[in-house]
Subunit: 348 residues, 3 copies
């Protein structure tokens, strides 16, 4: 239950008060096509605005290009960027923090090693395990059943959702968010083949380091380095089921969709966007500002910013043509056979 | 240890008693090639029947098209559908429920919020966490280390295997089964890009709703909607490692094999079958009764029932030809070069 | 903190003492390019040796082909195989076992059924659940939040990292290592379709059997068999996110990279290497000593040892040509159109 006044008091340049009562109350947020009179609605287009008005939505946050009517009871905000407006306003409706506090800040069932150091205002859920010499920054939220092994660090205001695993010595920055069943700091995959064909494990004694504002989806895995560090830079976001192998170095502000995989010792710069199920081979380097389409396979260095796609990787425009021509392949084969026959060429 | 009499008393049209002693006892169920005299055996084909008879299996459940011998000690049932017979009889041999009851119905170590409501005959395993205002239906089974966040609902007779995560406000229907390490209700993946290239999180304040008889394999992830609901309809079954992004709507009685992924806001009708590692892009709609081959990539709407495959998606028959012709691609390239040379055409 | 003397006392043929003080102390292990005077460094090539010497590394383990200088304070070992040397020496620097012992061998919060049998020197972490009649071999390490269901066996010296799931009746051999969030023994995916289009579950009453020295990465899933056994043979290693369906039989000393998937009832021999994201269809048989490239799709039996790749699968050499020619597909289509036009052939 949020009043327009609270939104106005955010003083966000992404949600500017325009008209209507600041005492308007929104009980929920709904998409335009499901709007009702108790809802706040974000609208990007004229038809969405029409739907929201028809439903008598109590508060509308409209893209600034839309003409806001003056003859309604609705309270209006405008924004230069609807997504940024959502990013600014939706936290008011988000009960996420309530999920973590069953009864108390530090749940009595949590198993916290006496040498662990917890900052101010840290929340620890039921059955969480916090190991020897672990350090947790101020305001961090540790979900139920999280395991943080010895000597790991968790930065201030970071959220670890239930059942996350943080391996020994790994370091997470501030304001990260890690979703359930994600594994940070399992062993890298590394074996030496002996003469008898068996594989001898090479212990993985390095760690994982995440910068600040890193988000990892559910059921991801980031392996610890063989000797040194696997790194994911500040502001990088990964969706569910992403796999980051040992010794990988990833820069800042990248976005990786679900199922992204990167093999050992590869590097990615900053400000890249990588589509779902794309994979990067080992020891490959990708520079800054690269866009890679979903399902692509990157087996060689990408040294120029730009958009790419396909397996093998091509400039995006070429990869889309290749993809389209794939559906022509049967016809092409027949045409070639016809030509060869027409010319009376012998089969080779 | 099950007697033929118990099977007979199921009065299932998928397992009809034919001949032999109803006191025959089966200690286990084995495939025909491993049958022994203590085993119940399902047989679809004549050679399987022969093997089971040779092994003197105590009970044989045979497809009705097979001729059942009368000169044996074996007890016989027949069935119009061996798989449905397995579905009817195997629960008698399945000790699944024993797995959940270490000592008591509600394990003393479980952490159940005083405001949670548990129905009749609910089982809760060690260290399970059941949050504020959670509602659990009659006869539900909550495994060890399951986390159910506040305000979530779990329907009657639903089984949550150990270590499952159910996020706040999510709703599961009756008779669902969710396997270990599956995450229901993690945040959808959604960020607004700010001018400085950083990505601002858009809070995900919606939920996940599963119908009745939904089964999700191990290590799956179904994300909560941005504002409203991510839905999986009754009777839909997914194998391990399936990913369902925010705002996806999936209908009833679908079957998805391992590694299926579907991106945000896409929809799937009912009675579809989708193969392993197939992926559906965002905002794509697939109608009822569609079959999609493994590894396919669906990037456009599929509006006609039928079988499809490939990436890009084609009717299945065409996609199989495309696939077969891929192995011809090197030969085709050479043929084309030969023709161009033969004709004295200039290279372009 | 390890002295050269301790390494020498390993008496490993993969790390032979050559020269320098046996009292040299290494505080850490670093790659050549990050070496410092407190580090042990493994070097394979002349330029790495140079870097390590320049950094005055305290101990260098060099490939035997390199000329080891005699005019330095550095202590030298040589090896015929640097990876095997790492496998032999790095355990001395690996604090893995410390991760598991918060305070005591058997953590007081662990929930161990009175009928479970634990061998000598077993370690059990906080909140681990060990079910009825479970048997755990000598020296095994059970991490925090592990769930081992009733009647399962865990072999001697096996390590289960935190949050692993071992289903009822499953059997793990000796010296296995299973990483966090891996699921062993969830149900196979099996349904019988009823006439009304609903899918009836076929109970999965078999189990999973792992041999000795099996390693599974984080977030893997190995399903229990329908009636009998899903098997992974001794010495086989799988990276993160691998999926093994019910009734699969995998032999010994195989290596599977991340995201490998194998569908029901397929078999793999021994000493195979399979790349990342490769998939094997159901009921396919792969013989010994097969190498399969990453992303391959195996839909037919592979009956000859050798290297293969692609989808459809081809001999590796052919698959690389096919892959390369994919980028030529647009050009090929245009050439064919030009030829057809040049010859005045009618379109078909």
């Amino acid at each position: 239950m949020i009043t327009a006044d609270v939104i106005k008091s955010l003083q966000s340049s992404d949600a500017v008060f325009v008209s209507g009562s600041t005492e308007a109350i929104a009980h929920k947020v709904l998409p335009p096509e499901q709007a009702d009179s108790e809802s706040l609605v974000f609208v990007s287009k004229a038809d969405q605005l029409e739907k929201a008005l028809k439903a008598q939505a109590t508060i509308i946050v409209a893209h600034k290009s839309l003409s806001v009517p003056t003859d309604t009871k609705t309270t209006f905000f405008t924004t230069p960027n609807v997504q940024l407006a959502m990013s600014a306003i939706l936290p008011l409706f988000d009960g996420k923090m309530n999920r973590f506090n069953q009864e108390t800040k530090i749940h009595p069932t949590a198993c916290i090693h006496p040498t662990a150091h917890l900052g101010q205002n840290v929340s620890v859920g039921p059955f969480a395990v916090v190991g020897e010499q672990v350090r947790i920054g101020d305001g961090a939220t540790i979900g139920a059943h999280v395991v943080i092994e010895c000597y790991a660090h968790v930065g201030a205001h970071t959220i670890l959702h239930p059942q996350v695993f943080i391996g020994a010595y790994c370091e997470l920055g501030a304001s990260c968010e890690i979703h359930p069943h994600t594994t940070i700091g399992a062993d890298g995959f590394s074996f030496a083949m002996a003469k008898d064909g068996t594989h001898k494990k090479i212990p993985q004694i390095g760690k994982v380091i995440l910068g600040d504002h890193v988000e990892l989806g559910a059921n991801c895995a980031v392996d610890r380095a063989a000797l040194t560090e696997t790194r994911i830079g500040s502001g990088t976001k990964m969706d569910n089921f992403c796999h980051v192998a040992h010794n990988v170095i990833i820069g800042e502000n990248n976005v990786m969709a679900a199922g992204f995989k990167i093999a050992g010792s590869s590097t990615i710069g900053s400000n890249c966007m990588i589509g779902g199920d794309a994979a990067v081979s080992d020891h490959v380097n990708i520079c800054d500002k690269v866009i890679i389409a979903g399902r692509s396979g990157v087996t060689n260095d990408v040294l120029q910013p730009g958009a790419y796609g396909g397996y093998p990787l091509e400039p995006l425009r070429d990869s889309l043509k290749t993809l389209a021509n794939l559906s022509q392949l049967t016809r092409i084969r027949k045409e070639v056979a016809r030509v060869v026959k027409h010319l009376g060429l012998k089969e080779e």
